[in-house]
């Protein structure tokens, strides 16, 4: 019951955030200097043709009407029409790229979450000893490398040097991502580099603080073996903050995706955003940014719920049986 109440409340907040976000993104992008119609037609266009296009695109309508039209379209699942590729519905290109990026993000998550938890826990248990020092330093070093730097290192080693993985990511025509999973490896690894450092350090410190908790002392002094205490008593509590951290870092992950996808030419949401920005394709920029935001908010919501579900202190209210 308590959980359901929290679920409903958070869901409400999440939807509110997305709504506010959509307003923010719309206005942010729309108030940017530069006439959209002029952008479409180019500098050589006559005033007459600019005016005609403005009228057709409804650019002279008040801002709030345009927002409502745009947001309404979004709710109906209509992302609008690309400015740059006139006549092309954004829907037709957008979801495929989103799918690719989601697969890439999930692959990266699959790489770095187990890895960093494993090493973070290990370092936390060995606090102050050699393995801790090594893991912490490696984590710090990988965390300090921006994705494009680690990406270039990976390219140099695996693609240029060993030639076992592709430098650039294309999906041959008629095939899909599943038939080309090898293009995921280097981009996912580049993200893993950064995130590994971050998450493993967080995991380590939460493990260290949990290992210092009174209930761990109590468990050890109850005569429980150390390994049992670590896995049965400490781990669950130490994982809770990590879940939040992973959720909070989805934003960083998606920032990283843009860099990585640009570096590898991966056909995903990141490179789509980049190309939308480069071509000033306003509706496409809006769709991309809103969707990135949506994923982030949704990830936060999911981790929050997961956290609440795994944490009996939130799941059960005091006094409930």
């Amino acid at each position: 019951m308590e959980f359901l109440k929290r679920f409903a409340k958070r869901l409400g907040f999440t939807l509110l955030t997305i709504l506010a976000m959509s307003v923010l993104i719309f206005f942010l992008v729309e108030i940017m200097p530069g006439d959209v119609a002029q952008t479409v037609l180019g500098q050589s266009a006559t005033e007459e043709s600019v005016a005609a296009l403005r009228d057709r695109m409804g650019l002279d309508d008040p801002l709030h009407e345009r927002y409502l039209r745009w947001a309404g379209g979004f709710i109906r699942g209509d992302l609008g029409e690309s400015l740059y590729m006139r006549g092309v519905q954004i829907n037709t290109i957008f979801w495929r790229k989103v799918g690719h990026s989601v697969v890439l993000a999930l692959t990266a998550l699959l790489f770095y979450v187990p890895l960093s938890i494993l090493f973070g826990v290990f370092a936390g248990v060995k606090e102050g000893k050699a393995p801790d020092a090594i893991i912490s330093f490696v984590g710090l070093a990988t965390m300090a490398l921006p994705e494009f730097v680690s990406g270039i290192i990976l390219i140099t080693v695996f693609a240029v040097g060993l030639e076992i993985l592709p430098i650039a990511s294309i999906i041959p025509i008629g095939e899909n991502l599943w038939q080309n999973l090898d293009i995921l490896v280097l981009p996912a690894l580049s993200i893993t580099f950064v995130m590994f450092g971050y998450v493993s350090r967080m995991q380590r410190s939460s493990m260290v603080s949990v290992m210092k908790a009174d209930y761990i002392r109590a468990a050890i002094l109850k005569g429980m073996p150390r390994k049992y205490v670590i896995f049965r008593h400490a781990l669950k509590n130490a994982l809770l903050p990590t879940i939040t951290i992973i959720g909070m870092n989805m934003g960083w992950l998606f920032g990283g995706l843009i860099v990585v996808e640009t570096l590898f030419g991966f056909p995903g949401l990141g490179s789509l955003t980049m190309s939308a920005i480069k071509t000033r394709d306003i509706p496409l920029i809006e769709a991309c940014v809103l969707f990135i935001t949506f994923i982030f908010v949704f990830a936060t919501f999911t981790t929050d719920m997961l956290y609440a579900f795994l944490n009996p202190r939130i799941r059960y209210k005091r006094g409930d049986a």
Binding site: D214, K222, R232, R313, Y316, A321
Partner: protein
Amino acid sequence: MKTEPVLEIKELDVAYHTLTDTVVALKGVSLSVAKNEALGIIGESGCGKSTLFYAIMDYLPVSSSRSGEILFKGEDLVVKTPKQMTKFRGSKIAMVYQNPYSSLNPSLTIGFQLEEVSMFHHGMSRKEARQAAVETLSDLHLGDAAGIVRRYPHQISGGMQQRICIAMALLCKPDLMILDEPTTALDVTTEAVILDIIKELKDKYNMSLIYISHDIGVVNKVSDRIAVMYRGEVVEFGNQNTIYKKPEHPYTRALINCMPRAGVLKENTQLNTIPGYVSRRSAAETGCPFVARCEKRNATCEEKYGMVERKPDHFSACDRAYATDIPDKVLSKEAGSIPEGAEPEHKTILKIDNLYKYYGPHGKRIRALDGVDLTLDRNNVLGVVGESGCGKSTMGHTISGLMRPTRGKIIFDGTNISVSWRKRSPETLRDIQLIFQNPGRSLNPSFTIENIIGRPMLKLLGIKSKQKRRKLIVDILKKVDLGEEYLFRRPKQLSGGEMQRAAVARAFSIAPNLLVCDEPTSALDASVQASVLNLLVDLQKDSGAAYIFISHDLNVINYLSDYIMVMYLGRICEYGKKTEVGGSPRHPYTEALLSAVPDVDPSLKRGEIRLHGAPPNPTKKIKGCPFAGRCHRKVGSVCDTTPPPRVNFSDTHFAYCHISPEVLNSEISVKGIKK
């Protein structure tokens, strides 16, 4: 009762090594606990009580060293490997900790945490273990044992949590149970119940106990023998009565004299204080650990020092407690000594009328104050006592302006000040000062003492000249026994007692007329508490200010107050002069509270009223008497439905209760504190 000892510690030394030096935590500790015996260990913070306990369990930090012998039923635990130790831990030696909530894993059910003990040590299946857990829980008078095992720790109250911890320790029927301040975090009535349970189970399970506490009163309730520790050493060890009545070691004597206790009142006795503070001990130090602070010290203290069985079964490292070559400090005052001149004026300075304070969002409102009236005269000390959540601090904060009352009036010196600090005049702000519980948190760590004391002078007295302020600050520092050199120190460089004295200096630096003290000594050790209490008494006498002294400790309240007000769940239970409330309590709750108070003097025996259950949810509106649910003298349904009427016993003494005044007057079921 001389049997083979269950635990015998011989010459145990423990030291912690830091990068630069070595700190001695335990030195030459020798103790023994017989079968079914309860040993109490008392001492101030930093004296090595907890280290002793961790040393027995082999749970010391990596950077420490341990030497000596710890014989548990003849086996030396010091030489056991960590793996071998798991056979003892939890099974033969079990522990109960100070903070039950943090000692239970928040993400595992209570049942799981109980079951694993039996599963590991007795190889039971989960089902058998569950059965064992439920059985043990019912030994602790936990009603719905089968339901509790399915819950998580946060779902039950603090008293219940501690019972779970005790049950967990009992599961394997240990030979020895070590309790480290198990009731310190609990309210006094809950504490009494837990202590009863511990006593009862000790005999039922035929085990030995080591009970560690800073509070002699608590230790007295469960232990047979008492060991007094100071700076890592056991300085005295013997039967509880002898320790209280005829201590051999000057430290023991000084410590007992520091404690507010039955029969000791501000009118007749000044509390003893021990100068200086507990310092860290280096490896090079030899001789008596107390010598630097001892008023009975002489030239022989270095050589003649060492644990000796002074009397049968009474060991002490020193026998100069009552040495006559150095006279005792004068401890008693002339009875009722009142400063020269006329009777001090008794003008009413504060009047509170029907005060309400609610917090929190609608629907979850906590009724912290639920209709409180009181009047306070100049020169008087009102002691407010009650358990946590009774609204005593809220009242203090409302009066001092930190909070605005929800309803009701606070009249101070003729003006209505029932507003928050923002709307009070500078005069009111100056006139009412507040002393907080935790001196470490009430002094801004970024400022020097000069800034801390000087700021109110600048702000509220408008003394602009820095020189002038400094002179005044030095004066007030002297009054609180701090020298000029403290001007430039920061709070972190001060000990707890010094900090609280600086806080008192800050309050008095602007000559307030009303001082609200919110548990000002409860974070302090006994010896430090005494010095602060003395200081407050002296300053009050000099300034004529009125005090509202808030505390959960009836001994302290009784020592310091002129009037006592007992609160329960935001309402007044009983109010009267100290002699009236303390000597002949009328309200059932006051009775229960008094009966639960741990006494420093082990020979005092009080009535045994035990309160069960927990106070009702403070967010619920209570129609009748808030105490009705736990009352041992409940009249009937009227208690639940009608607010109790005010019953006057004298001009100054009244209570709110449904029991008829005649009954209340005649049946005094509890012996008062008065001796």
